[in-house]
Symmetry: C2
Subunit: 177 residues, 2 copies
């Protein structure tokens, strides 16, 4: 979009800024908002993340930054979108999973009627850290009978070894830290 060649991954990495001590002292936060605000970078990220999943009918997106990537990924794939949300946000009957975060703990939910058994899905989030959130989302999908074709994130903090918790799945990240 205004640049001659498609942006490569290093150019995309350059659109993510480091914010020290957020959300708490000692945490270096990878802020993707400059990337999102750049039309070419945003489009390129969605296209690169979507590429391996042609034919997948459902994208499961994790609240709330996962919505920002998962929703356009679903649109680009011609798929439906299923949200995994924080406790108390989904209005109908839900399944729940508790998990530990990099900083704190959390519970996520999915609607009981969110998908049919046997449905092939890709789980999308912005960041893979310890893998707790993605693992909880994967558990929810499997409790509904969904088949996880992959877990896809924009950025991965490899030192936190989130892939160890997700060893059963095909995990893809665009950018590693």
């Amino acid at each position: 979009m205004g640049t001659g060649a498609a942006m490569d991954v290093e150019a995309l990495r350059g659109r993510i800024r480091d914010v020290p001590d957020f959300p708490q002292p000692g945490i270096l936060f990878r802020d993707i908002t400059p990337l999102l605000a750049d039309p070419a970078a945003f489009r390129r990220v969605v296209d690169l993340m979507a590429a391996p999943y042609a034919g997948i009918g459902t994208v499961v997106a994790i609240e709330s930054r996962g919505f920002i990537l998962g929703a356009p990924l679903a649109y680009a794939l011609g798929a439906g979108l299923v949200p995994v949300r924080k406790l108390g946000r989904l209005p109908a009957e839900t399944l729940r999973e508790e998990y530990a975060l990099e900083y704190g703990a959390n519970t996520v939910e999915i609607h009981r009627d969110a998908m049919d058994a046997g449905e092939r899905v890709v789980i999308v989030d912005d960041l893979l850290a310890t893998g707790g959130t993605a693992r909880a989302a994967a558990n929810l999908v499997e409790r509904l009978g969904g088949v996880i074709a992959g877990i896809c994130v924009l950025a991965e903090l490899t030192a936190l070894r989130g892939r160890d918790l997700l060893a059963d799945y095909d995990v893809r990240s665009l950018i590693e830290y």
Copy 2:
């Protein structure tokens, strides 16, 4: 997407389900998750919402269901995405606005460097109720010097007269209740 003709607005309305007494007794919640999960309906909603805004460079999406519509709208338009988030979620320097909700009160933030002065934007959310959230987002955009080309929602609760609070803007909704 599996259907011969594009879905019309009444077919889309049929994909929204009513959940009584959520999030509190007496509130009839319009649950868009069945619509999101339907690939043809999701795609159609994004395309219909995007249609009036060709050439707009920035979509401002309101956390968190606004992300689900605003992000694919930005992708479809070839625009960048700027999130308006709840208090404490954005890592860099922000501007804040407080506002009254249909049930409760809230504060939203935008990054100070989220856009250039003079930038034309569309503000996107899932629902227009009292208009407080959209008005707060509009105030944030204008404090940054942005120019609001429109405010666009999927569903509007007309009895709550949110448009009165947004009289300065071009407000579009796909579905009225």
